[in-house]
Amino acid sequence: MRWLALAGVLIALPTGAEPRYSVAAIGGYASEGRTFAIGGTSAYRLGFGVRAGVSLPKLYLGAMVTHHLGMHDIATSPGLSYDARYSTTLFGPEIGYDAPASRHLRLRPYLGGGPLYERSRTTVNGSVSDASHFRGFVTVGVVATYALGDAFVGVELRGVLSPFHDVTRWTPGAFATVGYAF
């Protein structure tokens, strides 16, 4: 109920401005916490994608897709070959609040979610395991943008929560963004 009330307040805020549509490219890096410390397998790492939405003008409704390149892990020894490829694609709707911090600077905390597709294909001595699958995710983040006329540049901090076997995995990430508002 509290969230519904908050959404109502946000939508009802006096605007005096038309809705503005925006589209932006995003690129950055994300990784599960432990892999920062000791390396290892990650289906995230470098990622890039697109975000599009509308500001009403303070309530932001949009959607994003991000593809993480993951990694290609290879190990060999006499008599053994190991080859593993991982990557992740996330897509889904987002809702945020556009808070102007100055004439050019705007902060947008947001909440999103949807399905993610994790590809994983491992080959050991010619035997193949394909454990690719869909699962759900929830993301929380904040985007700070600086307006350059109709264009904007910015940075984003994002955390993705997703169930992974017997644990819930927290994947923080940092991204740069550049876009255009119509």
Binding site: L46, Y82, T122, D150
Partner: protein
Amino acid sequence: METGLSRRAFVLLLSAPMALACVRSERALPVCELPDAGENASSLNVAAPTDPVLLAAGDIADCDDNAAERTARLLDRLDGTIAALGDNAYESGTLDEYMECYDPTWGRHRNRTRPTVGNHEYRTPGAGPYFAYFCGLAGEPFKGWYSYELGSWHVVVLNSNCSQLADGCAAGSEQHRWLRDDLATHRTKCTLAYWHHPIFSSGQHGNNGSMGAMYRELYDAGAEIVLAGHEHDYERFAPLTPFGERDDARGIREFVVGTGGRAARAFGAPKPHSEARHTGLYGVLSLTLHDSSYDWQFIRDDGGAADSGHGECH
């Protein structure tokens, strides 16, 4: 000017990931030194000039702790085949964790190890690094079940990560069918099996019935011993039926040995027929496998014995 700046930033942002698209990590693994091949690909023969010894523990190597080195030093002083009972390299059984945490400790004994796969290995999809690290010592890649002979004993290794297997672990599954065939092919007086998740446990996770069909198959075949890890403790049960009833004539004695190095956990209320429990210590179970009987001893990392006894084969 502002528009030109943003256009250049846009192009840079798009081109950077493309330039780094090939995120590739390449390294070397220890040389595979497989034991002599047995009669078929899923059965490995282990030379045993005298009564063989099986040394078992699971839940082993954590790079944040040196306890695995303590149990590895114990293994340095003990002869025998080693059963690594799963969750061998924390946190996720990655290749880095195997090479940086397991290999310097228990990895010293890799070529006399016959491992089983734990749930933490599957935090890396397919448990690929586990199968790679152990080469052919873990059976056919991505299956996780195999068997071998140890003296006069037949030893069966199963995969209890049922949700990771295409058709699970129920009766009629691929693994269950393989077990039935394997037990029919190897009709020995004494049989031992091990996997990661214990059927009976007074530990934090409690009883786990996912391997019930396998346990029943082993019970029907007259198996003597089941070993498991998963719980970070040591526990020994009386010989039990698949329903957890005491059966001294035909029951299977289960040992839970999750004391390889991962931090210990407290017990819950003792389950029926639990005969010995220890937590807060590290060590390995030593099983001396005679022709028609066995001796067990749980050896702490300081060399002392915390539990011992003798059993007869059915």
